[in-house]
């Protein structure tokens, strides 16, 4: 096309594109918007999505597996042995609980939501829920404590443990000091 012809072609072509463009925008003007108005309408999140952690402390046996699995060390667990006269109950998997869990803190601000703590748990007490709206104004409020022992209970349990340990040590010492008639091979005494 000559330069003269292309001049006119350009003009009419550009006018045509303007009109075509306006037709498209008009169509979009009357289409439904795709916005989801968030706080009033929430999208469903996937069933296996990894969001805030939850610990069912009644099932926790204090094995420390989740704390060891955590890549960012956000779980802090402290346990205390219980004495044989205390019955701590059974977990949901019908195993006996033997440890008091005196501290179970998860710093959810550090948590990277990888889910690596969920798999090692023998009783499946630590799970990822579907809660994703848990902002706080103070970051210290993001340290979640799941243990439910009061300070008095903890000191009491530790005291009982000390007493029991002392008793056992005394018994052992007495058994070692006193002359004992030779006995046939016995199995090792059970660890208390």
């Amino acid at each position: 096309m000559s330069a003269f012809g292309s001049y006119f072609y350009n003009i009419f072509h550009s006018l045509y594109t303007v009109v075509v463009g306006m037709k498209i925008t008009l169509k979009h003007l009357f289409q439904r918007s795709v916005t989801i108005q968030y706080p009033t309408v929430k999208k469903a999140i996937p069933e296996r999505g990894r969001n805030r952690l939850f610990v069912n402390i009644d099932d926790c046996i204090g094995c420390d597996q989740c704390a060891m699995a955590c890549p960012v060390d956000c779980i802090t667990i402290e346990t205390c042995k219980s004495t044989p006269d205390v019955d701590l109950g059974m977990t949901s998997k019908n195993t006996k609980k033997r440890l008091y869990v005196s501290q179970f803190d998860i710093d959810i601000a550090k948590c990277c939501y990888c889910g690596l703590c969920v798999w090692p748990c023998p009783t499946e007490c630590i799970v990822m829920t579907d809660v994703y709206e848990f902002s706080e104004y103070d970051r210290h409020n993001l340290i979640y404590s799941f243990a439910n022992m009061t300070a008095d209970e903890i000191t009491e349990a530790q005291r009982k443990l000390k007493v029991y340990d002392a008793e056992q040590a005394a018994k052992k010492a007495a058994a070692a000091a006193a002359p004992v008639p030779p006995k046939p091979e016995q199995p090792a005494p059970p660890i208390t």
């Binding site: 303007v18 925008t25 008009l26 979009h28 918007s33 795709v34 916005t35 108005q37």
Partner: protein, 353 residues
């Protein structure tokens, strides 16, 4: 002091010439301020729905209070004047720009009984006050100590000056057909119904009108395009190209000064489309002839027609991408001006024969 003498004093005060002049001349200002709220809301909602999204649902019902919130925010912002900026011009620029665009309201015929200043050179005055806007923008761009603002200001000046030519030529064509530069006369020429509108040839004998029709339609389209460029709206918004120059010539402005520029943009928008409506689409006259016409209906028709044109412009804005600066100059000098010159000769020829 009894009620009678109080009423007399109030009446005397209101009919005092100076007071009356001040009140009547501030009516367009009140109109502008109210109109800006409406057009800002329209623009944001139209922009949103064209882009398949909703815009602002939370401030007020469906966002009606958003503009007021924006204005309040702009008022409360810190007023920063850059250290190395030319302080006098930096402070003066928004007001010069707004004065230039607001001065045009003096000659807009809102109705058959209300026109701010019925001067015989109305259209000429409009073009001249548009140039004042150019000065304001140059001042703003140059005095902010910022390379990109300067670029934006200079680009804007080049754009506005080169698009004043097609605008003025279109005005000359209209002046030839109607024989006057007075906007009130031009609108009166188109009174009587939609067939008398200048875009369809004006109230001339039918033969002449048929010949004039293609040329007036071309003139109308060219006038719309060049007035879009005059007011720096997309697709011609190089001076405020948001992705390139941050905000162009008003990058360094904040708070109330920015609000003045923003106000100027929407004031200008109304002005150029009001001029287009007055010149081509019949101004305040009703398209049905004598049905729904009268002095008060005049204001209604004027505002409605301009508003429809503004909505069309917003629609175009959210359709088209920006033109390059060389394409901009090409369009102005090599397309719009030659076609208008051709129309000028053709219209002159038809009117003479």
């Amino acid at each position: 002091m009894d009620i009678h003498s109080l009423l007399q004093a109030v009446q005397g005060f209101l009919t005092n010439e100076i007071v009356l002049a001040v009140i009547l001349s501030s009516l367009p200002l009140i109109f502008v301020l109210i109109y800006v709220l409406f057009v800002l809301y329209t623009e944001m909602k139209l922009a949103g729905h064209i882009q398949d999204r909703v815009a602002y649902m939370r401030t007020g019902w469906h966002g009606v209070l958003q503009n007021i919130a924006d204005m309040v925010k702009l008022l409360l912002k810190e007023d920063i004047v850059p250290d190395k900026a030319d302080k006098l011009f930096f402070r003066l620029a928004p007001y010069v720009t707004f004065a230039g665009s607001y001065a045009a309201y003096a000659v807009l015929p809102f109705s058959s009984i209300y026109i701010g200043a019925n001067i015989n050179l109305g259209l000429f005055f409009l073009v001249a006050s548009g140039s004042l806007v150019v000065i304001g923008i140059l001042m703003a761009g140059w005095s902010s100590d910022n390379k990109w603002s300067m670029l934006g200001g200079v680009r804007s000046a080049a754009q506005m000056i080169s698009y004043e030519l097609p605008t003025s030529l279109a005005i000359v064509i209209i002046a030839m057909i109607t024989g006057s530069l007075n906007l009130q006369e031009i609108v009166k020429f188109q009174d009587g119904g939609i067939q008398n509108w200048l875009v369809f040839g004006g109230s001339l004998p039918l033969q002449q009108k048929l010949f004039l029709l293609p040329f007036t339609i071309i003139t109308f389209v060219i006038f719309l395009v060049s007035s879009n460029a005059e007011i720096n709206r997309t697709p011609f918004d190089l001076p405020e190209a948001e992705s390139e120059l941050v905000q162009g010539y008003f990058t360094e402005y904040s708070g109330l000064r920015f609000a003045m520029f923003y106000l100027t943009e929407y004031t200008n928008l109304f002005t150029v489309f009001a001029v287009a409506v007055s010149m081509f689409l019949g101004g305040w006259s009703s398209p049905f002839g004598s049905f729904m016409s009268g002095p008060v209906w005049g204001i209604f028709w004027f505002v409605v027609k301009t508003y429809v044109m503004v909505v069309v412009q917003i629609w175009v804005r959210w359709t088209l991408p920006r033109v390059r600066v060389d394409q901009l100059m090409y369009v102005s000098w090599k397309v719009l001006t030659p076609w208008l010159l051709f129309c000028l000769f053709a219209v002159g020829f038809i009117l003479v024969i």
